[in-house]
């Protein structure tokens, strides 16, 4: 486990809602290496956002419950870190960006004040120096005329500019890990392209590791070094990005990739994945994808497949993997 900045080991997060127990995250494993970008991709309800909240220890309890596993960050388990210390990590060594910057920025403080606050909590900069650093950060994220914008309130900025401020805020204390949960989902495509370019450039400069949560395989292909595919609370496939796209193994991954309409390919009928995701409170004995999988047999329905490596750094949770043996 040397080199891994963050490693999530058999993490389980559950929610007790009325009579139901939702297994939102049900025993997942993955790790983020220093200086690399790991994408976690999946559809709504697959547990990707709960995973990111769990790493930051922001799952509300109750109804949430950490039901098992470890989250090792640079050698120590975040799940047993005291709250006080956790507060220091958040915004310090772990930066966060959320989907909707308007709701994550405080509307009654200027952008500058919010960055200065974060800087001064985590270091002993003077007010003056912190303000200068805030302007520097806004310049770094390419906000136009940063020395003027530093005194703007969030509502005075556009969606893309707000997300730039969020990124500046997340990077304020040179984090080792940046967690970005759907950072471009609320933005228009031309603005999304700007923000993705910015994140890539900043990573090259700062060497921050990024955990990118997204539903968009296009965003994964463009920005991630490694990918984890999640389905119904579990990891179904994990690989280097290039390997996942060149050699998708899990039937869900294959279905997902084929269902994405492409702007660069002449139109044809879109492939679909039949059926829908099982209700999150159902306890399935076998593979979570079995009810929708064309290859499922008795074993798939009765025994959960473990995530196992089929080639270097490429792991699949499927009894049929490697799939080329089944599909002759």
């Amino acid at each position: 486990m040397t080199g891994s900045l963050l490693s999530v080991e058999d993490l389980r997060v559950q929610f007790k809602v009325g009579p139901h127990l939702y297994r939102a995250v049900d025993g997942i494993n993955f790790s983020v290496e220093r200086g690399r970008t790991l994408g976690v991709v999946g559809e709504s309800g697959c547990g990707k956002s709960v995973t990111s909240l769990a790493i930051m220890r922001l799952v509300p309890q109750p109804p949430g419950l950490y039901a098992g596993g470890r989250i090792m960050f640079d050698g120590s388990d975040l799940l047993s870190t005291p709250d006080r210390q956790m507060r220091k990590l958040r915004g310090g060594r772990i930066g966060m960006i959320f989907q909707e910057p308007m709701t994550s920025l405080n509307p009654v403080y200027t952008c500058g004040e919010q960055i200065v606050e974060s800087l001064r909590i985590h270091s002993n900069l003077s007010a003056q120096k912190a303000r200068a650093r805030a302007i520097e950060l806004l310049d770094l994220v390419r906000l136009p005329s940063p020395s003027k914008r530093v005194d703007d309130y969030p509502h005075q900025l556009s969606g893309g500019q707000r997300q730039r401020v969020m990124i500046a805020l997340a990077l304020a204390n040179d984090p080792d890990l940046l967690i970005a949960d759907e950072p471009t989902t609320a933005l228009d495509v031309t603005i999304q392209a700007q923000i993705l370019d910015l994140m890539r450039d900043l990573q090259e400069r700062t060497g921050t590791a990024i955990l990118l949560i997204t539903h968009d395989l296009g965003v994964v292909a463009e920005t991630c070094d490694d990918v984890v595919v999640m389905y119904a609370g579990g990891v179904v496939e994990q690989a280097r990005t290039a390997d996942l796209f060149a050699d998708p193994q899990h039937p869900y991954t294959i279905g997902l990739m084929a269902a994405v309409p492409r702007i660069d390919v002449e139109a044809d009928r879109l492939a679909t994945i039949e059926g829908s995701v099982p209700a999150p409170w159902t306890q399935l004995p076998g593979c979570r994808f079995a009810s929708r999988c064309p290859l499922a047999d008795e074993k798939c329905r009765s025994e959960p497949p473990p995530l196992h490596e089929i080639s270097k750094a490429h792991a699949v949770a499927c009894w049929k993997a490697p799939i080329e043996k089944v599909l002759k």
Binding site: G160, T190, G218, E222, A246, A258, I263
Partner: protein, 361 residues
């Protein structure tokens, strides 16, 4: 297929400006120019996509077509008859032939009505069904949308997002319209479900010959469903062309940057970087000349003072002074044969396996 001589919908110079009122006397101090001078035609059975980013006026256009928002000026002709000056009663009649599907069907379905009740109302109101054959008609509409009879007794909250959109489509189909305005119908759905709904819309069109005005911000979806595409920027159409031509050789710099900005789900394809700086300007104070000039990578002096009019250039109708000046060919287009063959082969085999298990069942 695209018979524009007898269009089902003919929109002429549609304009919607929202007044901005200030002060105690609520005096009009300005206008939000949401939609200005928009004209297009839709042939029977064809899909015209209206694309653009947030605030470009595409949804306002869609709503103004049905007079859910009263247009400031301009005409909307449905099957040759002007909808814009119809009385309330006549408008209700016209809406039988023109329906709308929203992004979030939950907002457009009454939570206290079962699907049967929601569908019965338009069916009876517009005389499409009689109380005697109502059940059969409801079942027929549900079948068209890939739902079963037993779904009729359920309430909207009992459906998943994709199924709810099917109910939204069923509601729009109930009156057998000639045209459906689809306002971001798949934007809130997951990809696998989105594909199901896109396919459903195409099947329905093939079966019933309904025309769509498909409003979307997602160019990849548009490429799959549209026959023609109109690109809007700050309330105006800046380019219109057949979908095939628009994606192969976009003429307007804004169209080019939109296409270039869409992420490609393939690590081997590198996105062509066309720098579009900054954000879209406010519709309250649109820039002089061409409204795209502050962000345009090729703008010249003329673009700042003179608004370009829509005109024919190559395969597009385009509003740009410099439409002819650049090579229109879009690099980065992928031939189907260069697609990931492994993925295609595996998908085909999965589909074959599904077919086989269905045959034995």
């Amino acid at each position: 297929m695209t018979d524009l001589a007898t269009p089902v919908l003919d929109v002429r110079n549609l304009t919607k400006h929202f007044p901005i009122r200030r002060g105690v006397l609520r005096r009009v101090v300005g206008n939000v120019e949401a939609v200005t001078d928009v004209s297009f035609k839709v042939a029977p059975g064809e899909t015209l996509a209206v694309v653009g980013e947030s605030g470009c006026g595409k949804s306002t256009t869609g709503r103004a077509l049905l007079r859910l928002i009263e247009p400031t000026s301009g005409q909307v002709m449905l099957d040759g008859a002007d909808v814009t000056n119809l009385s309330r009663n006549a408008l209700r009649q016209a809406r039988r032939r023109m329906q709308i599907i929203f992004q979030d069907p939950y907002g457009s379905l009454n939570p206290r009505m079962t699907v049967r009740e929601a569908l019965s109302e338009p069916l009876l109101l517009h005389g499409v069904a009689t109380p005697a054959n109502l059940d059969a008609k409801v079942a027929e509409v549900l079948r068209l949308c890939g739902l079963s009879k037993f779904h009729a007794e359920r309430y909207p909250h009992e459906f998943s997002g994709g199924q709810r959109q099917r109910v939204g489509i069923a509601r729009a189909l109930a009156t057998r319209p000639r045209l459906i305005v689809c306002d971001e119908p798949v934007s809130a759905l997951d990809v696998s479900v989105q594909a199901q709904i896109v396919n459903l819309l195409q099947d329905i069109q093939r079966e019933l010959g309904i025309a769509y005005v498909f409003i979307s911000h997602d160019l990849a979806v548009v490429r799959h469903i549209a026959n023609r595409v109109a690109v809007m920027y700050l309330g105006r159409i800046v380019e219109e062309a057949a979908a095939k031509d628009l994606f192969a050789s976009p003429r307007h710099p804004y169209t080019r940057s939109l296409i270039a900005a869409a992420p490609r789900p393939d690590p081997n394809v590198k996105r062509e970087r066309i720098a579009v700086e900054g954000d879209a300007p406010s519709a309250m104070a649109p820039p002089s000349g061409c409204s795209f000039h502050p962000r345009c990578p090729i703008a010249v002096e003329r673009c700042k003072v003179e608004r370009p009019v829509l005109r024919q250039a190559g395969t597009s109708t385009v509003a740009c002074h410099l439409a002819e000046s650049q090579d229109a060919h879009m690099t980065g287009a992928v031939d189907k044969h260069h697609l990931n063959q492994t993925l295609i082969r595996r998908l085909e085999m999965l589909q074959a396996a599904r077919q086989k298990s269905r045959d034995t069942a």
